[in-house]
């Protein structure tokens, strides 16, 4: 059993059977009174962020979570199959579980998968991925300005706004945190 002295940013604890990650925490001690730890914690299942206050020294239950680096292999019906790069163990996530992250997956893409009691609950794709444009209006060769943009569809189905000079077949660097275009890269 852990206690409140273990609480720091990123600490994962179990509250009523649900894993929460500490986003922010503050030690407070009113006057000559009892000390508390005020925390802002994120429900790792739903992403909801809540405030919770613990008495200093109170026991907290560490959540059995583990982050593993896994490689995307192939789609299978409504799911995607991943393989642990160390143990070669495979597991599947549904497109629903993956959400927008499914749009960053190419064969061999390595992602971090958060497991809670052995079950996958979250996916972090690489910060940047490189994807090829499958569809966009033809570009204007001379226009290198990036102020004006147009929509483009990438090989995974992801839609992004790109500068006018981008053509179908170009490879683009995409920031997965914002889902936006960064630059054109050599293909």
């Amino acid at each position: 059993m852990a206690d409140t002295s273990d609480i720091k940013k990123g600490f994962k604890m179990l509250i009523d059977g649900v894993p929460f990650a500490v986003v922010d925490h503050q030690f407070v001690k009113p006057g000559k009174g009892q000390a508390f730890i005020r925390t802002r914690i994120k429900n790792m299942m739903t992403g909801a962020v809540i405030d919770r206050t613990f008495k200093s020294g109170e026991k907290v239950e560490k959540a059995d979570t583990e982050e593993r680096t896994m490689q995307y292999l192939y789609p299978e019906g409504d799911t995607r199959v991943f393989m642990d790069t160390q143990s070669y163990e495979q597991l599947s996530l549904t497109n629903e579980q993956l959400g927008e992250n499914a749009l960053y997956l190419l064969d061999g893409t390595e992602v971090d998968i958060m497991l809670f009691e052995g079950r996958p609950i979250g996916v972090t794709p690489p910060t940047f991925v490189e994807l090829v444009v499958t569809e966009t209006e033809p570009g204007f060769k001379g226009d290198t300005s990036s102020n004006t943009t147009k929509p483009a569809t990438l090989e995974t189905g992801l839609q992004v706004n790109v500068p006018l000079f981008v053509n179908a077949g170009d490879k683009l660097k995409i920031d997965t945190r914002t889902g936006s275009y960064v630059e054109r890269v050599k293909g």
Partner: protein, 295 residues
């Protein structure tokens, strides 16, 4: 780093100048003391000699020794010293921090509240703080019950200490002193600590808050040795019940009260917190040259 050193040097100079102009004597008391205070919610560092025998504790505040100086005839005294508290760490807490403590013999808590208002305004001026304009005296005063009523919508029975402090920490304190500092008075008698009681039965204790941060804690001082001993024994019993380390009662402090300590007002102010607030820093660590975590 140099900026922090200059800030602190300037502030210390301003504090010394303020008290010297008001005819206060700067005093020094020991860091290692025979009793660090029995307050149930304070935890002290034990000091041992090289053979491992206990020699005392690091002072959690210089209160007992400074009050002995009052009994010995000192009238207006102040001290800038390091105080030490175990198991306290956060943006507003460090295991060692700089305490400014002062006492006025023949003074009241009102007198030291006025000192506090003028002192803080003076330091803000010297440091050219962006807050200098909002610190002029008098600061607003509210009672503990008024603070609960205003910010939590209910008054909480201090007998339910856990709920009292949790509500205070979550709902009340963060709202206190948002634009200007506020002084909270009339604490429950059970939290009187070393303060005398008011005529209405509350403790003659006050705390000032600025932007939700406690800046100081002051008392109209208890001078009744028998009552002080009762409180020590009660706190000691609480410590035993709670399985906390039990510290000795400082008999020399009680002797000094028995011999006669003048009616006095006293206050203890966290210098690091004040500097944090006046520079709009986000933690006391950012106004300290060596916070514990960077040692």
């Amino acid at each position: 780093m140099l900026q922090v050193l200059r800030l602190r040097a300037k502030a210390m100079e301003a504090i010394r100048q303020f008290f010297s102009e008001r005819d206060f004597l700067e005093v020094e008391t020991p860091a290692i003391v025979p009793s660090p205070g029995l307050d149930v919610h304070l935890s002290a560092f034990e000091v041992r000699d090289p053979k491992g025998s206990p020699v005392g504790w690091l002072a959690t505040s210089p209160e007992y020794q400074m009050k002995r100086l009052l009994s010995a005839g000192a009238e207006r005294i102040f001290q800038l010293c390091r105080s030490y508290r175990a198991e306290e760490h956060g943006r507003h807490h460090e295991r060692e921090f700089t305490m400014l403590e002062w006492y006025r013999a023949q003074g009241t808590s009102d007198d030291v509240i006025r000192d506090t208002e003028c002192l803080v305004a003076h330091i803000a001026d010297v440091l050219a703080s962006a807050d200098a304009g909002s610190l002029s005296s008098p600061w607003d005063r509210i009672t503990v019950n008024e603070a609960f009523d205003e910010h939590a919508g209910e008054i909480i029975d201090p007998a339910d200490e856990a709920r009292f402090f949790q509500t205070w920490a979550e709902a009340v304190q963060p709202q206190l002193g948002k634009a200007r500092p506020v002084v909270v008075t009339e604490w429950p008698a059970s939290m009187a600590s070393l303060a005398k009681l008011n005529d209405n039965g509350t403790a003659d204790r006050f705390e000032a808050f600025f932007r939700g941060v406690e800046l100081c804690n002051g008392f109209g001082e208890l001078t009744d040795a028998a009552e002080q001993r009762r409180r020590f024994e009660r706190d000691r019993a609480h410590r035993i019940d709670a399985g906390l380390p039990v510290y000795p009662i400082d008999e020399r402090f009680l002797e000094a009260l028995e011999l006669g300590m003048p009616a006095s007002g006293g206050n203890a102010l966290g210098v690091d917190r004040l500097l944090m607030l006046l520079t709009r820093a986000s933690s006391i660590q950012s106004v300290m040259p060596f916070p514990a975590e960077e040692l």
